[in-house]
Amino acid sequence: MRMQGKRLPVALLLGLCCGAAQAEFSLNGFGTLGVAEVHGDERRYGLSGEYVDELRTEPVSRAGLQGRYQFNDSFSATGQLLVRGERSRYDTDVEWAYLSYQATDSLELRAGRLRLPAFLLSESLDVGYTYPWIRPPAEVYSQMPISRYIGGDLLYNTAAGDYDMTFQLMLGQTDSDVFMGGAETEMQARDMWGASVTLQYDYGRVRLGHVAANIDVDTNFQAIAEMPPGSFVVGNARDDFGLVLEGLDGSFTSLGYSYERENWVSYGEVAVRKVDGLDFPDTRSAFLTLGYRVDNWLPHLTWGWSEVTDDAQVNGVSIKEGEQTSWTLGVRYDVQPGLAVKAEYQVIDADGPNGYSSLFETAGFPRNVDAEIVSFAVDFVF
């Protein structure tokens, strides 16, 4: 009895003190180090033209460091620094920097620099260790060059048994330096909003998301000026090597899932991109991955596809129905928790009126392009 009498005040004291004493800092990191090369009809591939015809580290390598400071039960601050390979160089950026307020058990509010919730894998896009491939399938994942925004979001989580449902609503804007068709592009997005719903179960999750914005695009094709004249100039050519578009309404919608049960692993996503006018192509894209785990080995096969759906013009030529299809055979080997090794072989086939509808930098059109990519990488987290 005496013990109990003492314990209660002590517990109370602990409860009070620890509200203040609970502040804690955690530091985590991740990275993918690897090499890749492309061989075939064209010599450059990728959103920034990062894949070339010799083994380079830029296409697949990146590393991040994330710090989180928990002030108390409700408030925390998170920042993430990311180094990422792109066309012939590495770029360092603050990818996340936000304050979070856990208003109730199920409601979280965040503000600052956040990841744009465009895709199924948006928020862990660069953490290779969390998925089977070296990079998420490009046909879908290159459709939205913006990866982050400044603004805020609201996350509402509700659970029923093993099911877990999350609603997300975001508002913000962005001024991003991105790559489009191999060219450095300044992209501004205003009045940006997005919403998503994710249903999570023990074996995986399904996510439906939509983002919309009013965008300005200023592209500088100087970076690829070594290419034959007139080969890659879209829209209203500026200084022979540029493109300026203003006030375009655009939207991006994606439906995706991930599944993992016993030995089977599967991912899939379909996405639709719509942008006003004919200077910026509307697209449809999809991928499907199937893998089967055998001990620490996960061999997997991926089909990826993207297609231009409107009458978008490149140098006055419609690229409607221009498409890219690829098959990727890959394997992931889990060396130990926190460390995985991956290898992939990809065959890409781009068809249609113009190479602009694929991720190749093509020097002429009409043109069909066949190529293959070989990649190796090591993924780690700590």
Partner: protein, 139 residues
């Protein structure tokens, strides 16, 4: 006759679940619940349930690679260590969660659970005494 009997006995010993410890989930005696089912334990240790009877839970883990840890997660979540690492990495790097704190072996987990309100961990059943409350016995 004796040796004939001994061989099956020896085999039985070799293949009996001797290596399988009997694991229990333990909490601080002040915990507002007395029993958890396996589903709740799984949700707790996958970070999906963060409170017990209104009290914030502080999860404690045994060191990576320990036999108890492997057995616990395999039995409760059905996930391998690599799968769990991947699961938690996704939550960490999307800002959605934090894995249980690693405090050492079973003895370290037990003493921390015994001294901090809200703490929950798992240990070998033989390490349990009056200083902690058993919430669940692994089958």
């Amino acid at each position: 006759m004796n040796t004939m009997l001994k061989i099956p006995l020896l085999l039985a010993l070799m293949f009996s679940p001797l290596s399988q410890a009997e694991l229990v989930v333990i909490a601080h005696p002040s915990a507002g619940v007395d029993r958890l089912d396996q589903g709740a334990v799984k949700q707790l240790f996958l970070g999906k349930m963060r409170k017990l009877a209104g009290q914030k839970v502080k999860l404690l883990d045994q060191v990576s690679g320990s036999a108890d840890r492997e057995q616990f997660y395999t039995q409760v979540t059905g996930k391998s260590s690599a799968q769990l690492k991947s699961y938690w990495s996704r939550l960490i790097f999307t800002g959605k969660g934090k894995p249980p704190e690693v405090v050492g072996g079973g003895a370290a987990v037990k003493s921390r659970v015994a001294t901090s309100a809200g703490a929950v961990g798992y240990v070998d059943a033989t390490q349990v005494d009056d200083s902690v409350k058993v919430l669940f016995r692994l089958p």
